[in-house]
């Protein structure tokens, strides 16, 4: 990726990371659409021999052989039995029956996680710079599980099974599938086994935002990653005939528009279809759009396909306008014709102009790449949001990372839009999604693993979460682009990842497999359900009182039932947590903040003194909650600090 290393503080702080030695021992497995091994991001110049612990392989198949792997891309496997059993044999004229990536997504995520540095990377000159993965010296192994018709759980399980056997250290999975209980969810089940072997599993939170309860991959042994923006934009202005200008974004490169205003038409007025405004395939009347710029409403079909539809109908350009569903979120695309995307407010103003002017005209002004955009990051509107629908007591997502307009490696067999008619070929592409933020965190987790090889997955996640930031340098809270207001822990979790701080968190909230078994007991899982997840017979201790609240998680979700208040009109919730010292000796003092006066927070003891490394100290937080209206949410924060390091935890209060 370009820009994200600087944005994350990696660019100028290379010496802070143990890049050359221990990180080269870290192996990151990526489950996705495969890999384009010819990408320069997989150049292995200067890398040491493959780690001796590696037991994986480079499988051969359509247009792919063992010689496609090297000291950077050390493994490549594909899993298609489940897919073929349902969909029939793979059509090798359309997709490779091998680890080769015919989609682009897998090459994008795998180069983001651990790609080597490539100078002069760009997409048509956009986002130009030196591209690199988060862990440039880590090794990458790809497991192709997603095909043209989707990703099937039998193949995903098989890939995770093999990745564990191959000895990966981090698993990056930018995929999800609805909201199932953990014992029914293959990703959650596979991740449990991986966690037990010391493998950190990082998954995308999903792109179903900004609706609440829209998260996937919420098991507490998974690191769940939401998406934020960078400080980079690709402005392309809409200039109307009435002299008004509106800002938009675009990655269009090609024939320029004539330097004059052009006729402008609303797609809904150039179609006989009831959904003509959406520029669906075959809905535009060529006689009405020929030679004109067309305004299409966002939604239903792919953004780039709308541009193709306008182009096919003879249109000269497109303005793609958001509706309420997307608000002000702008996602840049490499359209096939001159086009720009504008937010809802601008879109409404442009629609009003189109409806009121008898001879509307417009042009689009492309401005290239701009950096230093503020505020940044902001939470992407599409990033899935809490509360956690499976276990509301576990706050998810865990954190956010860059996931909007990310440049990374791309497949040579598909154009940047992914459309079959797009015959352009690019080495790098710019795309958006929590699929893009997940491998950022996976790569950063690999850096932390390299620096602290003995840390558990939970300790690494804790380091990433407790050092994440929630305010800009000016002290204002990170915003949510969906609302234009400060984001909450249901949007950003513990905050935006800060890898430099994560290297030295001071204290961590550690967890082991047995803790998660206790968690399953607290959920009242049957022995059979626990066995399905944990692969062993485990009987919950009938004499022990299990509580989800006591899972040693680095965040707090307090669910208050207003109908079950105590005699004083309050409910009391006690949460126990244990901190492990992973730094120098120090005395940590607690501080709490809260938006609401309806919950009183107290911590006992308020001071924790640590001497030795790995020393553990336990504390109890008591939340005393008064009644509030159902569906009220409020938020707070608990921090331990020794004056140098701060170990922060978000708190979410929900009156159910």
């Amino acid at each position: 990726t370009t820009r994200t290393p600087q944005f994350l503080g990696l660019g100028d702080n290379a010496d802070a990371f143990p890049e050359s030695n221990s990180v080269s021992e870290v192996i990151i497995g990526v489950l996705d659409t495969g890999v384009w091994p010819e990408s320069k991001s997989f150049d292995d110049t200067g890398l040491d021999p493959i780690p001796r612990t590696w037991k994986g392989a480079c499988e051969s198949g359509t247009n792919f052989s063992a010689s496609n792997c090297n000291r950077k891309l050390i493994g490549a496997r594909f899993f298609a039995r489940g897919y073929e059993a349902t969909m029939g044999p793979i059509d090798e004229s359309k997709e490779s029956r091998s680890p080769r990536d015919d989609d682009g997504h897998g090459t994008h995520t795998s180069t983001t996680v651990g790609g080597s540095a490539v100078s002069g990377a760009s997409l048509f000159g956009y986002a130009e710079g030196a591209a690199r993965g988060m862990a440039t010296r880590a090794r990458v192994a790809v497991y192709k599980v997603c095909w043209l018709g989707g990703c099937f759980s039998s193949d995903i399980l098989a890939a995770m099974d093999k990745a564990i056997e191959d000895n990966v250290h981090v698993l990056s999975m930018s995929l999800g599938g609805g909201m199932s209980d953990y014992y029914r969810d293959s990703v959650a089940i596979g991740a449990f086994a991986a966690m037990e072997k010391g493998i950190l599993v990082s998954c995308s939170a999903g792109n179903a935002g900004p609706s609440p309860y829209s998260l996937s991959n919420v098991a507490p042994w998974i690191t769940t990653v939401g998406a934020g923006t960078l400080d980079r934009d690709f402005p392309a202005f809409v200039s109307l005939g009435n002299g008004q200008n509106y800002s938009g974004v675009s990655l269009y490169k090609g024939m320029s528009l004539p330097g004059k205003l052009l006729p402008f038409i609303y797609a809904g007025n150039a179609s006989n279809a009831t959904n003509g405004n959406l520029c669906m395939m075959g809905t535009l009347i060529p006689e009405k759009v020929a030679g004109k710029i067309v305004l299409c409403d966002r939604g239903v079909n792919a953004r780039v396909q709308k541009g193709l539809v306008v182009k096919a109908a003879g249109g000269t350009g497109m303005v793609l306008a958001n509706t309420a569903a997307n608000g002000e979120e702008l996602v840049a695309d490499a359209h096939l014709l001159p086009a720009t995307a504008v937010g809802q407010k601008s879109g409404d103003a442009v629609r009003k102009y189109l409806m009121s002017d008898h001879n509307p005209t417009v042009t689009i002004l492309f401005e290239g790449t701009k950096v230093g955009i503020e505020p940044s990051p902001v939470v992407a509107a599409f990033s899935s949001r809490g509360p956690n629908s499976i276990t509301p007591e576990i706050l998810k997502p865990d954190l956010i990372a860059p996931g909007v307009n990310i440049l990374a490696g791309w497949s040579g067999s598909v154009g940047p839009t992914g459309l079959a008619t797009d015959d352009r070929r690019v080495e790098f592409n710019i795309i958006s999604g929590t699929s893009m933020s997940c491998p950022h965190v996976s790569g950063l987790a690999a850096l932390v693993k390299g620096a602290h090889p003995d840390w558990s997955p939970a300790a690494i996640r804790s380091a990433l979460m407790t050092t994440a930031y929630i305010v800009y340098k000016n002290g204002n809270s990170i915003q949510d682009i969906a609302t234009g207001k400060p984001s909450t822990p249901f949007d950003h979790g513990a905050g935006h990842v800060d890898p430099l701080a994560a290297l030295n968190p001071g204290l961590v909230y550690d967890l082991a497999a047995d803790d998660y078994l206790g968690f399953l007991c607290a959920l009242n899982y049957t022995e059979s359900q626990i066995n399905s997840v944990a692969r062993r017979q485990f009987t919950c201790d009938a004499s022990r009182k299990y509580s989800v609240n006591d899972l040693n998680y680095p965040s707090f979700a307090v669910n208050i039932d207003p109908t079950r208040m105590g005699s004083g009109g309050t409910s009391v919730f006690k949460y126990t947590r244990t901190l492990t010292n992973v730094g120098s000796p120090g005395t940590y003092k607690v501080s709490m903040s809260s938006e609401t006066t309806a919950v009183k927070i107290s911590v006992e003891p308020p001071t924790l003194q640590f001497g030795e490394v790995n020393e553990k100290k336990t504390y109890t937080v008591t939340f005393t909650a008064s009644s509030m209206a159902s569906n009220t949410n409020s938020f707070g924060r608990l921090e331990w600090s020794d004056g140098k390091r701060t170990v922060g935890s978000p708190i979410a209060f929900s009156w159910t």
Partner: protein, 82 residues
């Protein structure tokens, strides 16, 4: 359609494997054969679960579910890229 086969993931309780089987894969195979003469395994899993995936009719899945040592017979799910 009762004869239509779909993919299931079969979770088994390894602790309940009869001693007569020398390897878990033989036990899986025997369990599958007890409900279907034609179903074949897609994968056997060693690390993530104890079990296998296979194509079954809904009736075969129902029968397998009640065999000894079977924890669950879950229909395959489709996941999507984010």
């Amino acid at each position: 359609n009762g004869s239509k086969r779909t993919t299931y993931i079969v979770h088994m309780a390894k602790s309940q494997m009869p001693e007569s089987f020398t390897h878990q894969s033989h036990w899986y195979d025997s369990s599958l054969k007890s409900v279907s003469g034609s179903a074949e395994m897609l994968y056997t899993y060693d690390n993530v679960i104890h079990g296998f995936s296979t194509r079954l009719t809904s009736e075969e899945a129902r029968l397998l579910e009640v065999q000894p040592g079977i924890l669950s017979v879950l229909p395959e799910l489709k996941y999507e890229l984010h």
